[in-house]
């Protein structure tokens, strides 16, 4: 009996092995890769700062109901309006509705981080598909995608976003959708150029000679070859999207039912915090946005240096941000580059003073 049992078990495992063990093995490998990756990030000084901040923010977002003293979504848990900071309300309450600001700050992390990360991943996904298709398949597909990218890049994003949110409603799903729709273009270009390099490499040629189909080459050789670009861009665009979402919410175009940091800023404006001198109410969401963006940027830059230690000079963080249509950041990066080139250490003014003396 026992022998028969073991034999049948063996057969079962052999049959099951073909499918399940392969899936399990690839999942394990994936997890191990991510683990290795986080360890490498942790060992990088810039990455460690980012990881610590992001970890803290994520804990806040995930365990918000436990950490926050009140539920800002609950209408019954509201105190007197416009309370100053106290032990019960560490950041006071809002002037308009009497919600606990500290709880709002913690709950706001959920929406802001979620939108940033989800949009970042969506953009990476769409950008990767389009970039690989256009680079690897080539021909008219390439032409079509690149012309679409050209058109998308010259459309001013903000006015169109305002129009579209008014047209299709202000749910966060819509906002993610719109940001994805306009965000993939720059990434697709970056990926296409990398794919064109990989496509002509000899190992792809060897795989073609062995009879590999397009799918095999895309999945096995090209996608892993551009994965570092994808991870990096997910980080950096997530940061950009968080700022953009805050801006939209501030303009009153965010989801009216959710609490996000941008929405808090809008309430600060409409509730008259400046008038009453409630500076803690103004600073709190600002610090939240700053920490989130800062941690993502740190991680992104650390990843870039890990993946490509040679390319510190022209940072690809700069390249990706250039494609986000963010004029201000582009100017800042540009002026930083310029001042580095000119060799100023203490800035332009120092030099002027010495001339004056």
């Amino acid at each position: 009996m026992s022998i028969e049992n073991t034999v049948s078990e063996k057969k079962l495992t052999q049959n099951g092995k073909t499918v399940w063990s392969k899936i399990a093995a690839s999942c394990l490998k994936f997890l191990r890769n991510i683990g290795n990756f986080i360890v490498r990030l942790w060992n990088h000084p810039k990455g460690r700062v980012g990881l610590i901040i992001l970890g803290a923010l994520s804990v806040c977002a995930i365990f918000a109901p436990i950490i926050a003293p009140f539920d800002p979504y609950d209408v019954t848990q509201r105190a007197e309006r416009g309370l100053h900071p106290s032990w019960e309300h560490p950041l006071g309450t809002t002037i308009s509705t009497g919600q606990d600001i500290f709880s709002m700050l913690i709950y706001g992390a959920r929406v802001s981080l979620l939108i940033g990360i989800v949009t970042g991943i969506c953009i990476a996904f769409l950008g990767a598909i389009m970039g690989i298709l256009s680079g690897y398949v080539g021909g008219w597909v390439d032409n079509l995608i690149m012309r679409v990218v050209d058109v998308m890049l010259v459309i001013p994003t903000l006015p169109l976003t305002i129009v579209l949110t008014n047209l299709f409603g202000k749910s966060y799903f819509m906002i993610v959708f719109i940001f994805t729709l306009f965000g993939w273009t720059g990434l697709a270009r970056t990926i296409r150029s990398q794919v064109l390099v990989l496509k002509n490499s000899n190992y792809v040629k060897a795989a073609e000679l062995a009879g590999a189909g397009r799918w095999h080459i895309m999945m096995k050789h090209i996608l892993p070859g551009v994965s570092h670009l994808l991870i990096m861009s997910t980080c950096l665009t997530s940061a950009g999207i968080m700022v953009a979402e805050a801006g939209l919410s501030f303009l009153g175009l965010g989801d009216p039912t959710a609490i996000s940091w941008g929405k808090m800023l809008a309430e600060v404006q409409s509730g008259g915090a400046m008038l009453f001198g409630y500076w803690w109410w103004i600073i709190a969401p600002g610090i939240g946005i700053f920490l989130a963006v800062y941690s993502f940027m740190r991680i992104g830059i650390a990843m870039e240096e890990i993946f490509n230690p040679r390319m510190k000079q022209t940072s690809s963080a700069y390249k990706i941000f250039k494609n986000l249509n963010n004029q201000y950041i582009e100017e800042v990066f540009h002026s930083m580059d310029e001042s580095e080139k000119l060799g100023y250490v203490g800035g332009v003014n120092d030099n002027d003073e010495t001339v004056g003396v």
Binding site: S201, N202, Y203, K205, A206, A207, E208, L209, A210, G211, A212, H216, K220, H221, P224, G225
Partner: protein, 330 residues
């Protein structure tokens, strides 16, 4: 006589009147220009032999090899492999036939995916073909690693852990894992140290004996060609110049270009001061070349006819062909 040879041995690969032209973009004129990378080539490669393909950089050697391997569609002409017209086949048949041809690349640093380990790299062709279990693949990879002189412990290391010569061995193992009949060696040793040339060449010769493969051996190192190849084809600017058995080419050199090539080889014997035909001028542009012999502008023995009439390949002695007006029957 040559027909006797071809009836004795079956040609494994046969190239007939092959043209490979690439259109040149740009410029203001509306006339289309073409780079004539390979023009009017005919070749036969017999089973079990090694054919050397010699020529300067940019003369179309690699383009010819890629066309034979089915990577570049020819403009005109046919490629037969095992009697089948390669470019007439479609889809699965094409892939199945092409599996019997493999390639060893010049640069062992870019031909291995740095993200894969050795098992994945060498086993990839088997995985692509499908129908093998992981154990079978691993067993075969270990067998091949031993065959090319690497050890089983290297199985899970990455290409960056290996030297150039070792990487070339890995490339060779990958090329022969599916037991191909025909192997294109695209300058397999030129990117390596001189000290490992002999190792790799001996390995290739050993494998040829053991497996019975046919080689198309591309090189510009004439010493290597002399030791490895049974027959040699000399190319210049996309055209065949001279073609025949290695010993005949090296002993009874006919074409002025081949002579110049052989004179360019440095000799260890310093006392033996031989006359050198040093080529003057640059290799001309392959874009829309003028009629006549392609070599005539650099040839020391060019006459009027050379710049007007394209010379045809003629059999001067059995199995030795040359395309030069010097050997026209008068």
């Amino acid at each position: 006589m040559s027909q006797e040879i071809s009836t004795e041995k079956k040609p494994l690969v046969e190239i007939q009147d092959l043209d490979v032209f690439f259109p040149v973009k740009g410029g203001l004129s509306f006339k289309k220009h073409y780079v004539q990378a390979v023009s009017d080539m005919s070749l036969q490669i017999f089973e079990g032999e090694t054919l050397g393909l010699v020529g300067e950089s940019g003369c179309g050697k690699t383009t010819l090899a890629n066309t034979v391997l089915g990577m570049i569609e020819p403009t005109k002409g046919k490629v037969f492999f095992k009697g089948n017209d390669l470019y007439a086949l479609k889809g699965k048949e094409f892939k199945a036939l092409r599996r019997d041809m493999q390639m060893i690349f010049q640069d062992p640093f870019s031909s291995l995916n740095p993200r894969f380990d050795i098992l994945e790299i060498i086993g990839e062709p088997m995985r692509i073909r499908g129908g093998f279990t992981d154990e079978e693949i691993e067993k075969r990879v270990v067998e091949l690693l031993k065959m090319v002189g690497l050890s089983e412990s290297d199985l899970h290391r990455h290409p960056s852990d290996f030297s150039g010569g070792q990487r070339q061995r890995i490339g060779i193992a990958r090329a022969i894992i599916l037991n191909p009949d025909f192997l294109v060696c695209d300058e397999p040793v030129s990117a390596l140290d001189v000290s490992v040339h002999a190792q790799i060449l001996n390995l290739l010769l050993k494998l040829q004996k053991e497996i019975g493969m046919t080689y198309l051996f591309i090189s510009h190192n004439l010493a290597v060609v002399k030791t490895v190849c049974d027959r040699v084809a000399v190319m210049y600017l996309g055209k065949m110049m001279e073609y025949g058995q290695t010993d005949k080419i090296f002993e009874n050199t006919l074409h002025p270009y081949t002579k110049a090539l052989l004179d360019a080889v440095l000799d260890v014997d310093v006392d033996n001061k031989k006359e050198r035909h040093v080529l003057k001028g640059e290799i001309p542009s392959p874009i829309d070349p003028p009629p006549g012999c392609r070599f005539c502008k650099r040839c020391s023995r060019a006459t009027d006819i050379c710049s007007q009439v394209t010379p045809k390949l003629k059999e001067i002695e059995p199995g030795h062909y040359v395309a030069c007006h010097l050997y026209d029957e008068k």
